[in-house]
């Protein structure tokens, strides 16, 4: 069995994005058991984390960077229909494909699975961030040209 970090990350991502809450795999004497955090209230949280990885990104921040990473801050409780779209990498947020082009989406735009929402650029590598759900853009959390951290919330999508 491949027990490398990438393999475990993939399993966690799979668990995170599909409906199951527990996964146990045993092969060649190696056992991996993953259980989703059980909510205190007994309610299943509706928040889907976009491309969430289980370990903090190994990013050395600028000297003035806050000691607390954005994902560790206490976030306000979300409307149960709202889905967060998070940045999978550190980079610069672009709302449009080029400076003179229209934004990919606006507040109120209808999106489906695969709709391009924005670009995150790092080192001239332009990453299209696609919606993983169908619904309506409820809020755009960042501004065009703004640097974003790993796992920072970019959009709130009201899932239909």
């Amino acid at each position: 069995m491949k027990t490398d970090l990438n393999y475990i990350k993939k399993l966690i991502k799979m668990l995170d994005t599909c409906g199951i809450s527990e996964l146990e795999i045993e092969e060649e004497g190696t056992k991996i058991k993953l259980v989703k955090n059980k909510p205190v209230s007994g309610e299943i949280p509706q928040t889907i984390h976009f491309s969430q990885a289980p370990v903090p990104a190994p990013i050395v921040q600028a000297a003035e960077a806050p000691a607390v990473k954005p994902e560790e801050k206490t976030e306000p409780k979300l409307n149960s229909n709202l889905v967060e779209v998070r940045s999978p990498i550190v980079g610069t947020f672009y709302a449009a494909p080029s400076p003179n082009a229209d934004s990919y989406v606006h507040v109120g735009s209808q999106v489906t699975v695969g709709t391009v929402l924005c670009i995150i650029e790092a080192m001239k590598l332009m990453n299209e961030i696609e919606s993983e759900v169908s619904g309506k853009i409820a809020k755009i959390m960042v501004e065009n040209g703004q640097p974003v951290e790993y796992n920072q919330v970019l959009f709130l999508v009201e899932q239909s």
């Binding site: 990350k9 990013i59 600028a62 990498i89 790092a122 080192m123 001239k124 990453n127 696609e130 040209g145």
Partner: protein
Amino acid sequence: MKLDIELLESRIAANTFISDIIYIPEVNSTNDYSKNFRHKDNVLIVTDNQVTGKGRYGRYWESEPEKNLTFTIKKNFNIEPDDIQSVNFFFTNFTLSGINEYLKSEQVFIKEGELELKWPNDILLRKKKLSGFLIESDILEGNFFIGCGINVNQKEFNKEFSYKTTSLSNTFAREFDRTRLLIKIIEVINDNLYLFENQEFEEIFKQWMGNFNMIGKEIVFTDEKNFLGKAKITDIHRDGGLQILINNELKVIYSGDIRILYQN
């Protein structure tokens, strides 16, 4: 002279990872066109005339017809977001090696360091820009569109850029065979693809760093809001971050432009 597509087919499609070569005599942008092949893997899209080539974030890549190499490789990589910059490190570094190998085969020898990488992903020849990349991806699907432009036989450049842009023919005062240059680049990339298959990302980064000579160099940095600052490059991180010392503070930047301040 146009690219020799028959020769490309026989040398590349038969012997390397490239399974399809799409030649278009004229196209606005090979990267945009390559999006038509989102569901295919290992496709090379190449043109003799890229009319409105794309640079970073809507910028224009200037190229005269039948003078340069402008192509896009569409390839799938199943990698974690943490390792995504390995694609950047890999293709820029091995394109540089391919150019160097081709020049050697043409009996053109350059000193070590004369071909070098500039952050974020340009190739310089004797301190002037020879080649630029624009890589587009959708992380979740693993599609990568690796766009590359190399100045080969173009002699005149837009005045605004001419002082910092070069071509092989401007540097060595002769014409070069674009088809054979492209074949060599694809062959070198092909010979090193095992590094990806084995997930040797540390090695890919190490090799990139081997052609990056700018640590310790003074630069002028321009960010998205056009802030200009004098800084010094102190390190590069494996996620692509450029660590600079600016106003006595260490900062890591992920996008923007740098201009090296040479002492001569």
